[in-house]
């Protein structure tokens, strides 16, 4: 059994979903698989119009990955700054976050690379303030960050027990084109 077969099994059961661009005809250059909880965030229903707007901006930001737009990757924890994706502490755990920074609250989507250009997005959390029923991550070394990373581990294990995410030391080990190091 390969991780590809495992992914297909999870797609078939609805435990993972393929994030497709909302607009017909947009290019698809990379693959993002999302968990049902991220789908719930993107698809609603939401409590308020503000929440709806925020979630849809996140969707647009996630589609940057799928449509092959330029993205900045930071492989060093705590130094991501303007990067679209950052590898989190500890690097050997290979947990990454996608950073949707605007408007407040910034949102972080946690996941791991199953293959080059294939990202599995598993969970999410607001960055600066509590939102959507979830606690804010706040500072980079807060307990909430550790818990979010652990949760990402747990969800990966539920889906892909025995399979490791890809590991690398350079941007191209994760994303093959239109990506740069931050």
């Amino acid at each position: 059994m390969s991780i590809r077969e495992e992914i297909n099994r999870r797609l078939a059961t609805g435990a993972l979903l393929l994030l497709e661009p909302a607009l017909v005809g947009d290019p698809v250059e990379r693959t993002m698989l999302i968990s049902p909880e991220i789908d719930r965030l993107l698809s609603g229903p939401w409590d308020t119009e503000t929440d709806e707007r925020r979630a849809n901006r996140l969707r647009s930001d996630l589609e940057r990955f799928v449509t092959g737009q330029y993205i900045g990757l930071c492989l060093t924890p705590y130094e991501a700054q303007t990067a679209y994706m950052g590898r989190l502490d500890r690097p050997e755990d290979e947990v990454w976050d996608i950073r949707s920074v605007d408007p407040s609250p910034g949102l972080r989507v946690f996941g791991r690379f199953a293959e080059v250009d294939v990202f599995v997005a598993l969970t999410w959390q607001p960055r600066s303030k509590d939102w959507g029923g979830r606690k804010a991550l706040r500072g980079g070394k807060s307990l909430e960050w550790h818990l979010a990373i652990l949760e990402c581990h747990r969800l990966w294990e539920e889906l892909f027990s025995g399979f490791q995410p890809i590991r690398g030391g350079e941007v191209r080990d994760y994303v093959s084109a239109n990506a740069f190091h931050v």
Binding site: R4, E20, L23, P36, N56, R57, Q69, A83
Partner: protein, 196 residues
């Protein structure tokens, strides 16, 4: 792999006479920002291959190199002025106003790697179709063009079953927050991890 893409995201936009939901307005706002960022960045990398550096660009624009690095790092705070400055400084170009319809776009052929069997079940398409299907049912069952055939619903889960992500085609609960393991359990795991 060839699959059909959901067209329902465009429903209100296509209708022409009903309000466009704020979320969709926000989606397109962010999309525009991201696309312009991608465009300017592609021009920058092209110019970089011909010798342009961030330091030179900063000098040309009378800006601090750190500011240029930040601007090129993410589209967060861009304004129309930012776009104008960057394009002028990078490539001696200006943005040419043009627009195109977001409706009636050609379907693409490639949606996923060959090994990904996406055509078996398009959950997102099904979810997006649900409100329209309910609308059609309320209106006496008149068909809505473009609506995919209904997929047999999964069995209604027992309370709590949806807590596991791996229980098959269980529809996710219609709530914004998520069920999570208790904070205590995660803290316990965190302690084990740190001890290891």
């Amino acid at each position: 792999v060839t699959t059909s893409q959901p067209t329902h995201f465009m429903y209100e936009i296509e209708a022409g006479d009903i309000p466009i939901p704020p979320g969709k307005l926000a989606y397109f706002q962010e999309r525009l920002r991201n696309r312009i960022y991608h465009f300017v960045l592609s021009r920058f990398f092209e110019a970089e291959r011909n010798g342009l550096t961030k330091a030179l660009l900063a000098r040309r624009l009378g800006s601090d190199p750190a500011v240029i690095s930040r601007l090129l790092g993410a589209p967060g705070n861009w304004t129309l002025d930012t776009v104008s400055n960057l394009l002028l400084g990078i490539a001696a170009e200006e943005l040419e106003p043009a627009s195109s319809s977001v409706l009636n776009r050609k379907h693409r052929n490639f949606v996923a790697p060959d090994w990904l069997r996406t055509q078996e079940y398009n959950w997102i398409a099904e979810k997006q179709a649900q409100p329209l299907r309910q609308l059609a049912e309320r209106g006496g069952g008149a068909p809505i063009p473009g609506l995919p055939p209904a997929i047999s619903p999964a069995p209604v889960p027992e309370p709590g079953v949806h807590l596991s992500l791996c229980t098959g085609r269980t529809p996710p609960p219609a709530q914004f927050g998520r069920p999570r393991p208790s904070r205590g359990l995660l803290q316990e795991l965190l302690g084990e991890r740190n001890a290891a």
